[in-house]
């Protein structure tokens, strides 16, 4: 697959918009959620919703950094679309009686840290860093988690919603991989060194320190749901396969970094990686709520209501 035509993609995006009101959230089928599923699903949905939200914030940062106006506009749409996914998922939770009044469900602590990091530093990060991490998160978490959901939940409204969400996601990934190739194009030694320079940036290290435990934490959650973790790994390998399909893609040093990291995540027997990261997950689990700064105000934009 060669690089896509971004102008055509933008037109496509504009012509395929949907709203929460396109779905009848009161249609029959909610009763298909079993009592046994319910509590785990509730936690799962809350995480999923927050992951969409993290993706949204990352796209917002990328929109500021985009190298051209088309990409800038595409990212501003993706930002809003991730918010739409979160809103739709919240509407599903509402439908399944999983919301506490109008309360937005709490994110887990690792997500919370990632949100904090994104809000503080993402706007400062060069587009090739986020442009590689985001497709990874999308393919591994967004993509894989959605699939698990559809395998386990029979409610037709859920399927209807995720059909729309997945259509959006396929465009996010299309653009994501295409941009990774763009960034890898004409990689010279100098360019590579420049692209890797942010590695020395402590702000980025902080980001890595919240990204790594997030993946492990989500793996644990998946296992807790009774789902095979191999499915997550299979999704992560897809990143390797698609991202590395062209020479340009492989020449992108950030693709190589994220890919190598994914290999560590997938290889459970690598103690050197998993012991400290899992420790970090446990450690972060002990961070008391009150030491965290207030959630940024964009978080309060979430809503399950189709009309406002």
């Amino acid at each position: 697959m060669a690089s896509i035509d971004l102008d055509k993609m933008l037109l496509k995006i504009k012509s395929t918009q949907w709203s929460l009101s396109d779905i009848d959230w009161d249609a029959p089928g909610a009763e298909l959620i079993t009592e046994e599923q319910w509590p785990k699903l509730k936690e799962f949905m809350a995480d999923l919703m927050w992951i969409e939200h993290v993706g949204a914030r990352a796209f917002a940062a990328m929109s500021k950094k985009a190298p051209n106006d088309t990409l800038k506009e595409i990212y501003s749409y993706f930002h809003a679309e991730e918010q739409r996914h979160a809103n739709a998922e919240m509407a599903l939770m509402k439908r399944w009686g999983m919301l506490d009044g109008d309360e937005i469900p709490e994110p887990n602590i690792n997500l919370r840290l990632v949100i904090e990091w994104l809000d503080r530093y993402a706007d400062e990060m060069p587009v090739y860093v986020l442009g590689t991490v985001v497709p990874m998160l999308e393919i591994a978490l967004d993509g894989a988690l959605c699939k698990f959901l559809l395998d386990t939940v029979d409610d037709p409204v859920c399927h209807q919603a995720f059909e729309k969400i997945n259509d959006d996601e396929s465009r996010h990934l299309g653009v994501g991989f295409s941009v990774m190739e763009m960034q890898g194009h004409g990689a010279t030694y100098i360019k590579t060194v420049k692209m890797l320079a942010p590695l020395l940036d402590p702000r980025l290290l902080l980001g890595m320190a919240s990204y790594a435990p997030l993946l492990n934490k989500m793996r644990d959650n998946i296992v807790a749901l009774g789902l095979p973790e191999e499915k997550l790994y299979a999704a992560m390998e897809k990143f390797d396969k698609i991202g590395g399909r062209t020479a340009d893609g492989r020449a992108n040093p950030w693709f190589q970094i994220i890919r190598q990291h994914a290999k560590l995540v997938v290889n459970r027997s690598n103690r050197l990686y998993h012991t400290p990261v899992d420790a970090l997950v446990r450690l972060t689990g002990h961070i008391p709520k009150r030491v965290l700064p207030a959630v940024p105000s964009w978080v309060k934009e979430l809503t399950y209501r189709p009309a406002a």
Partner: protein, 536 residues
């Protein structure tokens, strides 16, 4: 036909006096124009029959530019003037833009004519009604009403080369003039934007330039689309009345504080008694805006300083980090019009107001659907979406020598000589023509030098007993090369998109320099730049 068909080849040394008198005689023509030309009209068939009036100078538009031109022409003794105005009143911009909060963002002392200063401005930045009052004051003081033909919407202009006459066709009439001043306004055509679903929306729709004063906003759910110069003036007013206001923003602009205050009585008294003091004030304001140009037009250390002021203004007024991010411009200041307001940011933070930056997907029956999947429902949508500006077209068809079409010639971006004349279109003068736009100073300052240039041209026609002044093509080309070269170094051409540029990024709108430089450019009319076509 022989009286007006001056069959003359281009000639260098105009043959003066006798014919000059003839011009002076024809000057008085309009009153009896019909009678004097009946016979000719009968011969040359229907068109001529309908000629409603002939004159020396036809002016299109009764806004500041058209009225100002008429005043200056008369001050030079050129009395035979007709103003065609499509509306039923004078005022242009300020007759049409009556939305709540409408005001100028250039100090009133500078946003007025130097030859007709008003000592009584009640505020430093006057509101729309007061500016309109000033326009009426000009119209009445200079007895312009008799010159104006209201409800005459010019649909086309064409040049009759043999007779050396411009012909303006309105709905059902024809007006003829030796010269034409096009003063139809740079921002006078507004329409609802072409957004998907705009026809589906069932609620009330209002465009900022066509305000509906009968609509009561009390407790209504209101959307404002657009955060440009008009939007930021409307929002603080609507927030005071409406139930809630949601503001839809595409790109945030630079907003600088606007130090608006009431003019103290002593100040007005001073200006009235010592007009020189007002002159001095005007000069000081002018110089202040000129110095801003250094930062706004070009990328200079001052650019950063003004940007810092803009950012400090934002930081001071907006506490929330995310809202501040949403409001932070991501283009260099000056690339688009700098906005001036001290009450816009506070209004956005009122409990009944909300800024929405999600892209708009479409309008629906009940409101606006944005890409985050939510339908925002409204009783009324206010479109503060600006004006239809054409970079390559003319507001109506204009045909010149040999039937050439200005639209065609401008298809790749408009070009003129000194913004005012176009080769092949003799005796046609434009206000706010190509590359005449002020980015940092009062439009009226620029307008005055354009008007005076046109008056000089019309005077030259008279003095030299000329049939026509046609700018030489090579002179026009050289002028434009120089302009485009200078534009390349400005902030407008620094890579940001704005309505100043065509789709291909050609800048046919702005003048790349100080107002002082523009005034200098317009200060002399060199007849060597023109082909002079003499009348016999």
């Amino acid at each position: 036909m022989s009286t007006d068909t001056d069959t003359v080849k281009p000639r260098r040394s105009p043959d003066k006096k006798a014919a000059a008198k003839k011009t002076a005689a024809t000057k008085k023509a309009p009153a009896n124009a019909g009678a004097g030309r009946k016979k000719a009209a009968a011969r040359s068939k229907p068109v001529a029959q309908q000629v409603a009036a002939r004159c020396e100078v036809l002016i299109i538009g009764a806004g500041f530019a058209g009225l100002g031109a008429a005043i200056r022409l008369r001050q030079q003794g050129i009395e035979d003037v007709i103003i065609l105005e499509r509306a039923g009143e004078v005022g242009g911009t300020w007759r049409d833009n009556t939305y709540p909060g409408a005001a100028c963002d250039i100090p009133s002392n500078l946003y007025s004519f130097s030859f007709a200063q008003n000592p009584d401005w009640s505020r430093s930045f006057s509101g729309g009604p007061e500016i309109l009052k000033y326009v009426h004051y000009l119209t009445d003081t200079y007895h312009l009403r008799p010159l104006i033909r209201f409800h005459e919407n010019v649909a086309s202009l064409s040049y009759d080369e043999t007779r050396g006459v411009w012909r303006a066709v309105t709905g059902d009439k024809i007006f003829e003039g030796r010269s034409v001043i096009m003063a139809q306004g740079p921002l006078s055509n507004a329409s609802l934007p072409d957004m998907p679903g705009i026809q589906t929306y069932q609620g009330h729709k209002i465009h900022s330039a066509m305000w509906d004063h009968d609509y009561d906003f009390t407790d209504k759910r209101v959307a404002v689309i657009g955060t440009g110069a008009s939007g930021i003036q409307i929002i603080p007013e609507l927030v005071k009345k409406a139930g809630f206001v949601k503001v839809f923003q595409r790109t945030p602009g630079w907003v600088l504080p606007r130090p608006d205050f009431q003019t103290p009585a002593w100040n007005r008294g001073l200006f009235r008694r010592f007009p020189a003091s007002q002159d001095a004030m005007r000069k000081a304001l002018f110089m202040f805006h000129e110095s801003m140009a250094l930062g706004i037009i070009w990328n200079s250390p001052l650019t950063r300083l003004i940007e810092r002021i803009g950012k400090a203004h934002l930081r001071l007024q907006v506490k929330d980090r995310w809202l501040r991010r949403q409001l932070t411009p991501d283009f260099r200041i000056g690339c688009k019009r700098v906005l001036m307001s001290s009450d816009y940011y506070p209004a956005l933070q009122k409990d009944n107001c909300k800024l929405i930056t999600w892209p708009i997907a479409r309008l629906s029956e009940k409101g606006i659907r944005t890409v985050e999947g939510i339908e925002h429902q409204f009783d009324c949508i206010v479109f503060a979406t600006g004006f239809d500006v054409s970079h390559s077209g003319t507001p109506f068809p204009v045909s010149g020598i040999d039937g050439r079409q200005l639209n065609d010639e401008w298809s790749r971006g408009a070009q003129a000589y000194k913004s005012i004349n176009v080769s092949g279109y003799p005796n046609l003068f434009m206000t706010f023509g190509p590359n005449s736009g002020p980015g940092h100073n009062s439009a009226l300052v620029y307008m005055e030098s354009q008007i005076d240039y046109a008056v000089r041209g019309i005077q030259a026609l008279r003095d030299g007993n000329l049939k026509a002044l046609n700018v030489k093509p090579d002179v026009q080309v050289a002028h434009n090369q120089a302009i485009q070269k200078r534009l390349a170094k400005t902030n407008w051409n620094s890579g940001c998109k704005s309505w100043y540029l065509t789709e291909d990024g050609f800048n046919a709108t702005m003048y790349p320099g100080f107002a002082t430089q523009f005034a200098k450019q317009m200060a002399d009319l060199d007849l060597n730049d023109y082909e002079l076509i003499t009348a016999d």
